[in-house]
């Protein structure tokens, strides 16, 4: 244990030997009652989170929701921190959510979208990262079309990397805001034992993959349902598991079996390119067989939550009256998204890299 570490705070491999002078918190008077500490410098996916760490994210998100309810919904926690938001994919919603989150914490926000950067001039990803770091970025929020890009960024960027979505691989902030929303809305405040259905194009979905990790870890009875061409390969994951046996889940193309007695139904966005790729005959056919309609939702438990990561193709993966119905928590997902991202930016800002 480093002599300057506050007593009671567990040693973590990531801050061991970093050599930063640790100033003792002059506020927190309970050195021995310090709850689980955050030790991750990067958040690339939810698979690295222990149950305690997930709990810490949830509690910190509670605090951020309170901040969002204030007359001045802004706190100085990240004052002086440069948060660079680098998006290689067009996604106004997610980018704005991160931007609002960072600004609510008083961070200095730099936005880089591919269309306006030298990325289009053939500058390599690592060159871009080096430039961003040289410009003073302490935290990087990255959206990239290639799976594994966030991992590459974490290996080369001197600060913290928060994965805003990489390829088909991971979208950890979405999975955590989904979990947060479910816990707030489900009776008992837990997803354990609840039947949660991810409905749609799971094969090409980073939202689905991150939710598979977080929901199986939280003990949900997880079902993944979609056309055979869009859930292909997931059966091997569902059956063999990549963790403890308790983290198995169910994959099916039988939408009625999936929805029956479900507590939560999460519809995924269907990309137009699935048709051109020959994976589906038509949007109409998809909607008819797998769209979340009022009739299908009636198979679920009364009051089952309806969720969607957005943006919605109304009338394709979800019927308008379901998306806007009383069971829908889609708007709440958006609001919770800001709070979850504030919580993660706050937690990550406390762990510095070995400069």
């Amino acid at each position: 244990m480093s002599p300057s570490r506050p007593p009671g705070s567990p040693a973590s491999p990531e801050d061991e030997g970093v050599g930063i002078p640790v100033v003792v918190p002059s506020v927190d008077a309970a050195p021995h009652s310090q709850p689980v500490a955050w030790r991750h410098r990067h958040l690339l996916d939810v698979d690295i989170l222990s149950a305690d760490e997930t709990e810490l994210v949830m509690r910190t998100t509670d605090a951020m929701r309170e901040v969002l309810g204030r007359p001045i919904a802004k706190v100085p926690a990240l004052r002086g921190t440069n948060v660079t938001i680098l998006f290689y994919e067009a996604s106004t919603r997610t980018r704005v959510s991160f931007e609002v989150a960072a600004k609510n914490l008083s961070a200095d926000v730099v936005n880089i979208a591919t269309a306006t950067s030298s990325v289009v001039k053939g500058e390599s990803f690592l060159d871009t990262l080096r430039t961003i770091e040289a410009l003073g970025a302490g935290m990087l929020v990255l959206r990239h079309s290639h799976s594994g890009a966030a991992q590459l960024a974490a290996e080369h960027f001197g600060g913290s990397v928060l994965n805003g979505g990489d390829g088909w691989h991971a979208h950890p902030t979405q999975a955590l805001l989904d979990l947060y929303t479910m816990r707030r809305r489900l009776p008992g405040g837990t997803v354990a034992g609840r039947k949660v259905v991810i409905l749609g194009d799971a094969l090409h979905s980073r939202v689905a993959r991150s939710n598979i990790w977080s929901l199986t870890a939280a003990g949900a009875d997880l079902w993944v349902c979609g056309p055979a061409t869009l859930v292909r390969g997931l059966e091997a994951w569902a059956g063999s598991g990549v963790g403890p046996a308790s983290r198995r889940f169910t994959v099916t193309s039988d939408v009625n079996a999936a929805l029956r007695d479900a507590d939560v139904v999460m519809a995924l966005r269907l990309q137009q390119e699935r048709m051109s790729g020959g994976l589906l005959p038509s949007l109409r056919e998809y909607s008819a067989r797998f769209g979340l309609t009022r009739e299908r939702l009636a198979l679920a438990r009364p009051g089952a939550l309806v969720m969607h990561p957005g943006p919605i193709n109304e009338g394709v993966e979800i019927a308008p009256d379901v998306a806007e119905g009383i069971q829908s928590v889609i708007t709440e997902q958006v609001a919770n998204g800001v709070a979850v991202r504030m919580a993660l930016l706050y937690l990550l800002a406390g762990v510095r890299g070995p400069r």
């Binding site: 002599p3 100033v23 003792v24 918190p25 002059s26 030790r39 926690a77 990240l78 706050y346």
Partner: protein, 187 residues
């Protein structure tokens, strides 16, 4: 109990009651008065003071909780982010007299953060400060209006307030940092 006791449970109770009287006296009554405890031990202290006022004034003073974590000036220096305990101010502070309550007044930085946090919620007409222990060594121009006990200390010492709501017992101790596990300073 490793340190030297400087306040017993009884002394702690008497100091709380005395502070409650001073607050009412200074306000010349209870109208327009709000108590805001600073997380963490300021919150149960604020509730105790409110209970004491309720007893001798038969008036219910609203109590809020203020978490100043996001306003700390050392966030960029601490090894790990402090855990946020939450703010709850279920009232309008505009034009009111707000009494901030904390357990120990030391450098004054916590109070500076609390003042900043408070101002984001509105514009109180008056802000006062009540603390159980003032141990000196101010680093900012801040003083307390109501003090349970003034305790001369050295910087090598630490003052620990134990409250039944948080720690299972009431007492205040002083100990040298070298006696602490890991030898690190705290509070």
């Amino acid at each position: 109990m490793s340190g030297r006791q400087i306040m017993s449970a009884d002394e702690l109770r008497r100091a709380t009651v005395r502070i409650s009287h001073e607050i009412v006296e200074k306000q010349a009554g209870t109208s327009g008065l709000l108590l805001v405890g600073i997380q963490r031990r300021g919150v149960p202290l604020a509730h105790r003071i409110a209970a004491a006022i309720a007893e001798h004034e038969s008036a219910q003073i609203p109590v809020g909780a203020l978490d100043i974590t996001f306003y700390r000036d050392d966030l960029s220096l601490v090894a790990q982010q402090p855990v946020v305990k939450g703010t709850s101010l279920p009232f309008d502070i505009n034009g009111m007299t707000v009494v901030l309550v904390d357990d120990v007044l030391y450098t004054g930085r916590t109070i500076r953060a609390a003042l900043d946090a408070l101002m984001d919620f509105g514009r109180p007409s008056v802000v006062r400060l009540a603390v159980l222990v003032d141990r000196g060594h101010r680093e900012l121009p801040i003083r307390a209006d109501h003090v349970g006990k003034n305790v001369p200390t050295s910087r090598e010492e630490t003052v620990r307030v134990h409250l039944a709501e948080v720690d299972g017992e009431d007492s205040v101790e002083i100990e040298r940092m070298a006696d602490l596990p890991g030898g690190a300073p705290a509070a």
